[in-house]
Each structure stands twice: as structure tokens, then as C-alpha cells.
């Protein structure tokens, strides 16, 4: 069965250069009721786009974080996703094509994770869209407390809050809110959410064919990003209880929510962490958040913003208010997130 084209790494791939495109085609084949894949423009678009009179949400970023973003296209969440190559920002052409494809006349919101590449490419796209007469609002996601937000960094990265923001802003847009309100809500989610990630292993991008970094036996990387960027520091592997403690402390101390605040707890797997471990970790985190005086009233546990098959997890805590909670609860129907529909 071995052939000349046999890939060196062990992954379900044909030509590694085609991985993203073939995967998106598979996504569209599985979910043609929800979305379509425009292979020329390299974008994933809601099946019924453009929805006249509805604010449209466009997100995008490197691939390798599935289900983010293609898996969140559908009713009540994204109108379009622009997937770049693995761990590489998409290009402005994709964002412009997506913006044009979903513009229903009520304005388009670009959801941009704060990475230099994403920010610059979305900026060029927004300029192009403005040239074509489409109102674009950009919302920056930068919730990763592992990065210091100072003059000496590119600012905090956008990580887990992206999922929550896309759900909540998507619900607002679906309910008919105008572009200012959708934008404001999205920014509120970002302002009230904090995240911190931990990697137990590296991961192998198809085009590279070898692991992004080495993580020696018995060590973990704390403050990891979602692109396989090394984290802030390495430590000896410790128990789930202790790792949960590091995550909770980092997030809670930065969020500074008032005592008794109601929160949404998002425990996210990086791709290679079994659900058995993820729920075990959730149990630890839930307890420690309560000990820290917060009240988890909603949660999301699963692998929603990943780094290929990396073993690891991130914690995102979002401070809720009634409006955010009810938008979170609103129906959503996408390949990866679905309820009430």
C-alpha cells in the first residue's frame, strides 16, 4: 500500500500542501446544510449568506485550530471564516471576499485575534472593503494573560475568548442588533474574559512534517499560545490540581472580578488531550474558582480552539452579566457548537 507519495509523518493526509483545502472541502461535504466552501476564494460561508439586514460576522486566522473558525459558521455565530495555512494568518483577499459574500447591508464585523499577522492582513482587507463601500468594524481579541500587555510586546494574544465572543456576538447579530451594538458586545466579551494555556506536548504542522518544539520528558510549557509558539516558562510536570491552580491564579488575578461574580468557565483542550482528562481538569478548576469566590454558572468543556494534536488545555473565564448569559444561551447551529436548534 505504500506509495511514492507516502507522507513521512503519521497523519491522515494526501499531499500535505493540500491539507487545509481538502479538510475544508470535507467540512463542507459534511455540513452542506449549514455552510459552503468557496475553494477559489478560500473561505467558508454560511449557506444562506448574505442574510439581508443582518450584521455579518467574519472571523479568520491560521488553520490548525479546528473547529475554530470554519466549525463555527452557521446560524447564531459566524457568517464566514477565512482559514489561512496552518498557523499562518489568512491573506486580505480572503477577508475581502468573505466580507463581500456575507454583507447583508447592515455592516460587517471582523473578529481579529491579536497577532501581528492577523491584525495587519485584516487591516489591509478592511481598507479594501471600505474602498468598495462596505462598513467594516474590527474587534480585536486579546485575552491571553500569559503575555504582558506592554510597550515591549505585540500585546496579548487572542485565544479562548474568541470562541465565546463569536458565540455571543453571533447571537446578538442573529437577533437583529445593529453593527454598533454587536461590536460593543463583542468588545465587552473581550474586556471581561481572560485565558491561560498549558501544553504537555508539541504538535506537528503538516507542511513542516516535524514537531514545532521539543518538550523534554516530564516538562510542561506554561503560558502557551495556540500557534505552537513557546510559552512563558517551562516547569516540571505536576498534578492536575497544581496545574489547575496555576491556570486559575493567572486568570483570576488578572480578571479582577468582584467577589461572587457569575462566570462562564471554558476549559478547552488543545487537541490531543482526552476528554477523561479534560473533565478531570474541569472538576479541579470549578472547585478552585469557587474557592476564589467566583460562581461558575455556565461552562464549555471540549476541544474548541486547538493546536492540531497538541496535548494541553487552556482556561478561559468570562465574567457574565444577564445580557451576556442570555446571548450565550441563545440558539446556535454550527458544525461544532449547537444548542436550542
Amino acid at each position: 500500500m505504500a506509495t511514492a507519495t507516502t507522507p513521512a509523518m503519521k497523519k491522515f493526509l494526501n499531499d500535505p500542501a493540500d491539507a487545509v483545502r481538502e479538510s475544508l472541502a470535507g467540512l463542507a461535504a459534511a455540513h452542506h446544510d449549514l455552510l459552503r466552501y468557496d475553494a477559489d476564494a478560500q473561505i467558508v460561508v454560511r449557506a444562506d449568506a448574505p442574510v439581508a439586514g443582518k450584521v455579518a460576522l467574519v472571523s479568520g486566522g491560521g488553520s490548525g485550530h479546528e473547529p475554530l473558525h470554519g466549525g463555527f459558521v452557521g446560524r447564531g455565530m459566524l457568517d464566514a471564516a477565512c482559514p489561512g495555512e496552518v498557523f499562518t494568518s489568512p491573506v486580505p483577499d480572503q477577508m475581502l471576499a468573505a466580507t463581500k459574500a456575507v454583507d447583508g447591508g447592515a455592516g460587517v464585523v471582523h473578529i481579529v485575534k491579536n497577532y501581528t499577522g492577523d491584525v495587519m492582513n485584516f487591516k489591509l482587507a478592511a481598507e479594501d472593503a471600505a474602498d468598495e463601500g462596505i462598513t467594516v468594524e474590527s474587534v480585536l481579541v486579546d485575552d491571553d494573560v500569559a503575555v504582558q500587555d506592554s510597550l515591549y510586546t505585540a500585546g496579548r494574544r487572542g485565544v479562548g475568548a474568541t470562541v465565546l465572543l463569536e458565540k455571543i456576538a453571533g447571537a446578538a447579530a442573529e437577533s437583529g442588533d445593529d453593527v454598533q451594538r454587536v461590536t460593543a458586545l463583542a468588545r465587552r466579551v473581550n474586556a471581561r474574559a481572560r485565558s491561560f494555556g498549558v501544553a504537555l506536548s508539541s504538535c506537528t504542522p503538516p507542511a513542516a512534517g516535524k514537531p514545532m518544539f521539543d518538550l523534554p520528558e516530564g516538562e510542561v510549557e506554561l503560558g502557551i499560545g495556540i500557534h505552537g509558539e513557546p510559552g512563558r516558562r517551562r516547569e516540571r510536570m505536576s498534578s492536575a490540581r497544581e496545574l489547575a491552580g496555576v491556570m486559575v491564579e493567572a486568570v483570576v488575578s488578572d480578571l479582577q472580578a468582584p467577589p461572587g461574580a457569575q462566570v462562564l468557565t471554558f476549559v478547552n483542550g488543545m487537541g490531543g488531550t482526552p476528554q477523561l482528562e479534560l473533565y478531570l481538569l474541569y472538576g479541579e478548576i470549578d472547585r478552585q474558582l469557587r474557592e476564589a469566590g467566583l460562581e461558575p454558572v455556565r461552562n464549555l468543556v471540549g476541544s474548541y480552539i486547538t493546536s492540531l494534536e497538541m496535548a494541553g488545555a487552556s482556561l478561559t473565564v468570562l465574567e457574565l452579566d444577564d445580557e451576556l448569559a442570555s446571548l450565550w444561551d441563545a440558539p446556535v447551529h454550527t458544525p461544532a457548537l449547537r444548542w436550542g436548534a
Binding site: 495555512e85 491573506v91 499577522g117 500569559a146 515591549y152 513542516a208 514545532m212 499560545g225 500557534h227
Partner: protein, 217 residues
Amino acid sequence: MITEPIVRASTITVWLTQAGADVRARGDYLTQLDAAIGDGDHGINMTRGFDAVDKALAGQGDGVLPGRLLILAGKTLVSTVGGASGPLWGSALRRAGRALGDVEQFDGPQLALALDAAIDAIVELGAAAPGDKTMVDALVPASRALHAELDAGSSLDQALAAAAQAALEGAEATVPMQARKGRASYLGERSIGHQDPGATSAAIILAALARSVGESG
């Protein structure tokens, strides 16, 4: 001054083809540098972009103006690279092309102005200052050397060779820097001790420029 090399459209084509070949040849090395302090795709990104530039240039007939070629190459990079380097290099070439306007050929001082326009575009978009451990740390010394040599009356060949050398040294000088822009900045002090991939590819591209002008001169 009659032996002074002049830059023409064909020089631009030779340069970009050369630069692409060099970036491709050193792609793994660039990716490795990026894996240490970034996300390990810089060689792949730049290779993808220059592959597309090759194709775009191949589609151009004779007689296209050099400025137009640069704009085309810039647009191609923007449209195919993604990441941080795509919009930065793409905007740089587009701005350089626009700075040249409709000239059919140009000399050293004009080339230096085009390089400055390119750097302006990069700084406008990315807001990096020298010392931030980015491609700017290769490009700014290169521009400074180019101006200095030309002002001192050196030939364009010599001036570009000095610029390429300055870019190389600028890239090497990023090793002890702590990154303040791009992904590497997330690492804080852990970014120290590694050479910046974007500065390294910039040095490769400037070396190709020096060689190309020398050859076609």
C-alpha cells in the same frame, strides 16, 4: 558615469527570481529560526510568496515598467503569504513601486529612495523601531549604508554590496535583542539569543538585489 549600472525592469525580474531562489534554498533554515522564537513557518511563508511572484512575473510581457513589476510583486505577496511577513513585504514592494512611478530605468539615488519608501511602509504597518528584533533591523542599516556609499561617490554595485553586508550584520545583531514586536515578543527574555527570521530573510533578499544589479549592470 557611463559604466554606472542602471536598474531596469529586467533587473527587477532577475532580482525577484534570485531572491525567491535564495529564500527557497534557505527555507528550512528560516523556518528553523522561526520555530525557535515564533511559529515555525517563515521559510514556508516566504517560499509560498516567491513561488507566486515567479508565476506572476512570468505572465508579464516585455516593456512593463519596473515600478509596475514591484507593485505586482507586492500585491502577489500580500495575496499569498499571509502571516506578518506577507503584508509587510507586500506593502513594502508596492510602496517602492509607487515611489518609482513611471520611470523605465533608474539610478542609485532613486533606488535608495525606493528602499526608503519600502521601509516607511513596513514601519507604518508594523510600527517596529530599530532594536525591536524584526526585519527593520536588517533594512534600516542597509538603507543607511546605501545612502552613505552613494553620497561618498561609490558605484551602485559597491553601494549595494555594502547595503547587503549591512543587512546581514543587522540580522546577526538581532541575536542578543529582546523582541518587542511580532510573535517573538510573547517570549519576553526567552527571545534573546536567537536570530530573527524576518531580518534574516530581509538580508537574503538584499543580497540578491546586490547580485542582480551587479549582474545586469
